[in-house]
Symmetry: C2
Subunit: 284 residues, 2 copies
């Protein structure tokens, strides 16, 4: 049952994040409170789940992936905080809660994001379960996925695309950077810890790419009804560029592609299969 | 001549930063341009100079410190970009140039800062002159100095102190985190690469602490005239809390303390001595 697996991942990562956030001595109280507010917010923890599912497929102990699972959630959390700022998406609510700059203030929200990013790299660098050589590889993967040639680059492309007509190819490129880069990193992390990864590397990266795009398209579909209503917003979305049924079909194709990539795996990849299904069928 | 040394550091670091910024394939053009704009802006490069001066004192090759010298400037640059944002200090100019959010836009400025922070960690993680073990130590030092228990923590304290009367102790604590943490890291980096650092560690860290505080007090003194004019601003400063001549005296004491810490070094610490003098005597 993928739901049981997801719950197990959520509980594990929430416990780990709580530990990390309580380590932060010397941190001003309000900053600390704001950091906890945005990190421990009941997120779905899809990214850590993807990491642990790939660890299962590669027969790696979960404890080796704990620090990157924390790090990826810290990066994801920081990106949401900065994304919600008035100068960016200007959102007042996220998951029914006030966004950080509304619950605290804008300056604090900027600093919270900045501090969470530093913390992500610090957590991996201090992981004593892994030799230094592996920690460095994980940090390289994270820095590239999070930075100007990854997630932040995608956000910059998104920004440049506001109020402009996009082609489907352009939209997919934005998705690939903005959302896909971090999701791909979730698969690259466990791969980096494998001794003989070549036979499975292409398959798992293919899975990651298909799922990354599927994830964002599903998000777009969930926003579809709203997107139609507020045409003035002009937020580019897959469902606005092609029609609804074509989008659903594309989603199904991506799901099939993800499953095909996993065909040479046995039941050790069942969590990856389950997550793929969960991602395209979720209702929120 | 400390000026010759500073010039040599500036030229070296500017060349290295330019190389790093040109590596960034896959980066959207406008983001890339904004990153270069804020990094290659004619800064004094005091932090890299401090790193190389400490390398001299410890008899380490400069090439081993190149990646941290880049990283510290990337972190410094990102912090200035976010600091200048309307929600923070709301500055339109820096060193006579438009600030990033004025030259580009606010959203881009947020993303530029975020991308530069990722890049700082990436640069160290990819440094092939150093074994993985040392790269990890350097990343740990940087993450702590930059994050919630360092620079960002100091900015949060500064924020909390606006429009409130501060004691001299509180003000020094803010300085220690906001400016001191990165300056201390400049000394910690070369120390981390030393095999037998114990005999000199305390001395160099004592030097770093004295110079960190002196650096910020000198900044305050340079702002003094302006600070008196716009009392409404309420930006806390050392010179506003005690009087001018007392502040100058404190600065001289810190300079003496820094020199005393270096008393068991020979001429290999002359650059550190020269930088201390430069920092307290500079006119901008």
């Amino acid at each position: 049952m993928i739901e049981t697996f997801l719950l197990r991942c959520q509980q594990r990562i929430n416990r780990l994040l709580m530990q990390q956030l309580s380590y932060t001595m010397d941190v001003p109280e309000r900053l600390q409170r704001a950091m906890s507010y945005v990190v421990l917010n009941g997120g779905k923890r899809i990214r850590p789940a993807l990491i642990y599912a790939a660890a299962e497929a590669l027969n790696l102990g979960w404890h080796k992936l704990d620090s990157v699972a924390c790090a990826i959630e810290l990066i994801h959390a920081y990106s949401l905080v900065h994304d919600d700022l008035p100068a960016m998406d200007n959102d007042d609510f996220r998951r029914g809660q006030l966004t950080c700059h509304k619950a605290f203030d804008e300056a604090t929200a900027i600093l919270v994001g900045d501090a969470l990013q530093s913390m992500a790299f610090e957590v991996i660098s201090r992981d004593e379960f892994l030799p230094a050589e592996q920690r460095i590889q994980l940090i390289q993967i994270l820095a590239k996925a999070a930075g100007a040639a990854g997630m932040v680059g995608g956000q910059a492309m998104d920004l440049a695309a506001t109020n402009r007509q996009l082609s489907l190819t352009e939209l997919c490129t934005i998705h690939e950077f903005k959302t896909g880069a971090l999701l791909k990193a979730c698969i690259e992390f466990p791969l980096a810890l494998c001794h003989d990864k070549r036979p499975v590397e292409m398959a798992l990266l293919g899975y990651a790419q298909a799922m990354g795009l599927a994830f964002q398209i599903k998000d777009d579909l969930l926003d579809y009804a709203q997107a139609i209503e507020k045409q003035d917003n002009q937020e580019p979305s897959y469902a606005l560029l092609v029609n609804y049924s074509q989008t659903e079909q594309k989603l199904h194709e991506l799901y099939q592609r993800a499953l095909n990539e996993l065909q040479f795996f046995g039941q050790e990849a069942d969590y990856l299969r389950g997550l793929a299904e969960f991602i395209i069928k979720r209702t929120q």
